[in-house]
Amino acid sequence: AESTDTFNYATYHTLDEIYGFMDMLVAENPGLVSKLQIGNTYEGRPIYVLKFSTGGNNRPAIWIDTGIHSREWVTQASGVWFAKKITQDYGQDPTFTAILDSMDIFLEIVTNPDGFAYTHSKNRMWRKTRSLNPSSACVGVDPNRNWDAGFGMAGASSNPCSETYRGKSANSEVEVRSIVDFVKGHGNIKAFISIHSYSQLLLYPYGYKTEPAPDQQELDQLSESAVTALASLYGTKFKYGSIIKAIYQASGSTVDWTYSQGIKYSFTFELRDTGRYGFLLPASQIIPTAQETWLALLTIMEHTLNHPY
């Protein structure tokens, strides 16, 4: 595509095309968008985060990531759409403009680049990282079981051949470690939203224990508002709740760790499949999925802006 205006948001793209999109977006919006490299993957690919900022120094920030499970293609595609939406709506939409006038947004579109490249080249169903496990012929770690929150407890597997293999130690995956270091280094992230697919859920901590989070009531109410906003567009129904209650016990998960770091507004989305496609959601559903999700993200971002802590 010659520009992000002619870029096709209604089809799935390769890693190179998404990285090319990022560069175009930065070039078109030098005063608003910058590209940070927070590390390199196990196989040596750069890990990029887009930063959207209207000034200030180390402002309170919102983190959004997509594609940590590489086969969940609608999430990376939605991340691309979010990036463009941010540049379109700033200065146009009063609610969103107020958010970006006071807070920064960090968006990691391809959170598992090695896995994503592998879904394009070898195995469309690949979910994990591509790190080699010395003790096994099986490859990869589930990057959503590798965080230092309940790591090693029930809700993840110690078997390298399992899709929910937690890894030999917390943060063993450089794709996870890079985010950990970034979040700790920034120190002022107020909302952390990790986007998966599928099953139409909005989840908050905890996943590794049944004990309610200290902010459970506020998170539950905010979730209800967010899924109501999401459903207002196309009627897509989401359930919400703590990870362990809404689905099952999951240890070492992203948002349990971010919540443990004091990031109160820590959420995981499981985007649609409203039908019977699972991870193979037709490209025709990318834009509707991104549009409805954006309404929920706006709800969470606006709440974060209006409830400083």
């Binding site: 469309r124 051949c161 599928y198 099953s199 019977r276 699972g278 193979l280 490209a283």
Partner: protein, 94 residues
């Protein structure tokens, strides 16, 4: 490219906790090479599992033997993948 011809995705409906446990037994049988797209959670939550061609009959027999309800969500995974690739190539061609 990994080939998924004949792989099916079954949507399993578990009515109670014993049935959830039954499906979890399947999860432990590595030789079946099952890929849970939506894992066993709670009664009433659908379980979606991709079943390689060679395991399809065994898995269906197991579910039927334990009166666990299921339906075929995706008849042939490779057919959907082919459609996805065609859509991407069509875009590139344009």
């Amino acid at each position: 490219h990994e080939d998924f011809v004949g792989h099916q995705v079954l949507r399993i409906s578990v009515a109670d906790e014993p049935q959830v446990q039954k499906v979890k037994e399947l999860e432990d049988l590595e030789h079946l090479q099952l890929d849970f797209w939506r894992g066993p959670a709670q009664p009433g939550s659908p379980i979606d599992v991709r079943v390689p061609f060679l395991s399809v009959q065994a898995v269906k027999a197991f579910l039927e033997a334990h009166s666990v309800g299921y339906e075929i969500m995706i008849e042939d995974v490779q057919a959907l993948l082919d459609q996805e690739q065609e859509q991407m190539f069509a875009f590139w061609a344009r």
